[in-house]
């Protein structure tokens, strides 16, 4: 079992992943401190909490967990002078298929995450914080627990941190194998010791009402690491990285049919899909052609290799022009992927070549969602299972006339009718696969002698 060696690609700009796979780097605090670790914490403790929030707002940082919501705005929902206790939760559930970035931070650079968390807690005045880590990361949980002990030993966590008067406790909380625990309100229910049933909105943000009915900030692992870097260089400097409204770097996780899959830290919007696939990931396997890409975790709508997209781009002189672009030209950032009808999501890029059967691929995805629906809402619980049963029977040769349209209509009847965004997450793959590869679905129904589709 070869340990896959990973030297950063020249196109990368490693900030959050600076220490990942670094020679001689170990996850203990001595190594971190030797490298200048916890200096940003010291700097932050000498700032006003409100100043840190302002820097994060100025940085333009958008959440890296999936939705891309501006981090500073979320923090801003905490009312000044709030009398209830405030909590912060690090979302380390990392379970969106195709996503594998937080794993490396947790295992190789836990102190970077802790430092980002402590700074964030100080900024929003949280005195109790949890890292909700997926159950299948037992080693990661141990590494984080050890890191917390080490940080306590140095006075970075606990009472009166570095003489600042600020108290904070951080605990690791392990999940137990359910994807829905990544959804922030499901996560909170889970942390309260209940089934992880997502909460009915409004309130739209746990920042209004979260853990134990108190204001709670939930942020992804990568987002919290970005905060540390923002404190180092300032919000305005950070905002110069990447592109307007898509600032900073992003950790992209590429898997599937490329020569060199892996993780890459790139300026947000700094590369196009074509550059990512062909230059950075070494292109497709010999003799293969690109067929489809899922650009932001399995929930993101699939992109077909030969699609043309009409997008509006802003010229430097302020005028906008409409351009027609192909898949290779899509910039990998929040706004560009939204403009082509998909999303940047969690940064998980799944590449499929022309050897792949799209009905098979969708069935695999449908099995995931059918298994992971929490079951609270009828459209999601029943619909996700329906969709999976239909794709399974198409594959088994038992396709029925009208299956393709039934599949699409099942998906259409889930999205927008559920308690949480899982509804969209499970509908989008089916809507996009059936919409864009309709012929392949029809071919399966006609295999069974049915021509109508």
């Amino acid at each position: 079992m070869p340990a896959i060696s990973r030297t950063p690609h020249p196109r990368e700009r490693r900030i959050i992943f600076k220490n990942i796979d670094r020679e001689g780097w170990t996850p203990d605090i001595d190594c971190y401190l030797k490298d200048g670790g916890y200096e940003e914490l010291k700097k932050a403790l000498n700032m006003q909490p409100q100043e840190i929030v302002s820097e994060v707002k100025a940085s333009g940082l958008r959440g890296r967990g999936g939705a891309g919501f501006p981090c500073g705005a979320k923090w801003g929902f905490i009312r000044p002078g709030e009398t209830k206790p405030i909590y912060l939760i690090c979302n380390a559930d990392e379970s969106e298929p195709g996503t594998f970035k937080d794993r490396y931070i947790i295992h190789q650079d836990p102190h970077q995450l802790l430092e980002g968390m402590i700074i964030s807690c100080f900024a929003v005045n949280a005195r109790l914080a949890y890292i909700y880590i997926r159950g299948e990361f037992p080693l990661g949980a141990k590494i984080l627990e050890r890191a917390i002990e080490e940080a306590k030993g140095h006075g970075f966590i606990g009472k009166n941190i570095l003489g600042s008067g600020f108290d904070l406790e951080i605990y690791v909380h392990r999940g137990a194998g359910a994807y829905i625990c990544g959804e922030e309100t499901g996560l909170i229910e889970s942390l309260e010791g209940k089934r992880p049933y997502p909460r009915i909105k409004p309130p739209y943000f746990p920042a209004a009402l979260g853990l134990y009915m108190s204001p709670t900030i939930v942020n992804n692992v990568e987002t919290l690491c970005d905060v540390k870097y923002i404190v180092r260089i300032g919000g305005a400097e950070y905002a110069k990285i990447g592109r307007p409204n898509n600032t900073g770097t992003r950790l992209l996780c590429v898997s599937g049919d490329v020569q060199k899959p892996g993780y890459f830290e790139l300026e947000t919007g700094g590369v196009t899909m074509g550059e990512l696939i062909y230059d950075i990931c070494g292109g497709l396997k010999p003799g293969r052609k690109l067929k489809a890409v899922i650009p932001g975790g399995s929930s993101a709508k699939v992109l077909r290799a030969d699609e043309r997209y009409k997008i509006k781009t802003k010229r430097p002189d302020g005028t906008t022009v409409e351009e027609e672009i192909g898949i290779d030209d899509i910039r990998i950032d929040f706004d560009s992927l939204a403009a082509v009808g998909s999303m940047a999501g969690s940064g998980g890029v799944i590449v499929m070549d022309d050897s792949r059967d799209m009905v098979w691929a969708l069935n695999n995805i449908n099995e995931f969602y059918a298994h992971e629906s929490c079951g609270q809402c009828t459209p999601c619980r029943e619909g996700s299972l329906w969709m999976q049963k239909i794709t399974a029977r198409l594959l088994d040769g038992g396709g029925m006339p009208g299956d393709t349209d039934t599949l699409k209509s099942a998906a259409d009847n889930i999205a927008g009718r559920t308690i949480c965004a899982f509804g969209e997450a499970c509908a989008w793959p089916t809507q996009s696969f059936v919409g864009k590869f309709r012929d392949e679905f029809l071919a399966y129904t006609s295999k069974n002698g049915n021509q109508q589709g």
């Binding site: 898997s255 899959p261 695999n364």
Partner: protein, 163 residues
């Protein structure tokens, strides 16, 4: 059901992580008991409920919801193979079959959902969803150990490590 002193100490310590609500300690307690006993018996479920001043149903509904908890023993060595897209494209279905073949597990017997056990109880195999390592697909876990980029040929040698 006997709780050794060391475990009892860890249980009491973990409850202190949740100063606002003891109920939050339910998952960590279930993890600790499952690690110790191999699975969660009715007795263990009732014990956790009493410890946290809850009704047994409050704990049972967690055990039946979360995929990692189980109410009957698995094999001495438990193998989890990732089933999801990137791993499936890299051959994880064939990998699961290879584990079954070499561990002498029949897929039709004793399977609850996607979980299968060898007759001697030494190994069990289960399909799980994306393990967040899709770049090194296919991946699996044996007990708490993680293995990436494995192929069918690695299976006998892997099983040898777990006796």
């Amino acid at each position: 059901m006997e709780i050794p002193q060391e475990l009892a100490g860890r249980i009491d310590e973990v409850i202190t992580h949740y100063p606002v609500s003891k109920r939050s300690a339910a998952l960590p307690l279930l993890h600790l008991l499952q690690e110790h006993f191999g699975y969660l018996s009715d007795e263990a479920i009732t014990w956790v409920a009493e410890k946290l001043e809850l009704e047994p149903i409050n704990i049972l509904e967690l055990v039946t919801f979360y995929p990692m908890f189980r109410q009957s023993p698995v094999g001495k060595h438990h193998i989890r193979v990732c089933r999801t897209l990137s791993c499936a494209m890299a051959g994880s279905y064939q990998l699961l079959d290879a584990f079954c073949k070499h561990a002498k597990i029949e897929k039709t017997h004793g399977g609850k959902g996607h979980l299968f056990k060898s007759p001697d109880g030494k190994y069990s195999v289960e399909f799980v969803e994306c393990l967040a390592s899709c770049g090194t697909a296919p991946v699996c876990m044996i007990n708490d150990d993680f293995y990436e980029a494995i192929s069918e040929e690695n299976v006998p040698q892997l099983l040898d490590k777990y006796q």
